[in-house]
Symmetry: C2
Amino acid sequence: MADEPRLSHTSALILQALDTGHLYGYTVMEVTGLPSGTIYPALRRLERDRFIQSRWERLSVADAALRPPRKYYQLTQSGEAVLEAARKRYPLLAKLTPTKEVPDR
Amino acid sequence: MADEPRLSHTSALILQALDTGHLYGYTVMEVTGLPSGTIYPALRRLERDRFIQSRWERLSVADAALRPPRKYYQLTQSGEAVLEAARKRYPLLAKLTPTKEVPDR
DNA sequence: TATATCTATGTAGATCTCTACATGCAAGCG
DNA sequence: CGCTTGCATGTAGAGATCTACATAGATATA
């Protein structure tokens, strides 16, 4: 069973946001309403603790999209596990972030 | 002889800034005092006109330096030529930006 | 001269990442 | 119990990139 150190509410919320789509820091800010100064340090800690893993977007993609490059985050297995545990502890968590829907019905 | 279309003063200043070191947009902003909304569109035009060429910094370097990635610019031969012509037309140009010095005497 | 077009600039802000430091809180230790 | 130490958070802003639109200036054309 999960003997993982429990997540803070904020960390759980960020993991939940990442898990509801293919997201990056700026979108997590928008979805959660938390300021960048909360989000980015938290992402660093989550990555340091191996709950998430980051990869930079291809620079050619950013160029083509006419914006600065993004850093995308993925949950690791350990991250999935700890999020699942957090969802059980906070039943409302799953409703806090809108699941990224498929465009077009 | 230079039958090049003449540079605007701003464009010449930006080329001059780039030529005084290994620079990127943000530094050009600082050195020239011009706002980002002037600098970045101008850089795009200069690149479109083949006076400069851009290359993204390695992402691993940006990560190691704990900051967002930079886009570096280099003058092309054509850019050097047009800058040289501009320096003759505007003798003060060369004094407007400090040459990036070698650190340590 | 009047009009049309084209380009550069200015204004205003969006997009995206990151830190340094202060505070607050919890855990361990004497 | 009081102290230290360590971690998470909040505050405040820096570091970088980029755009869309309005206006102004230059050039061409009728």
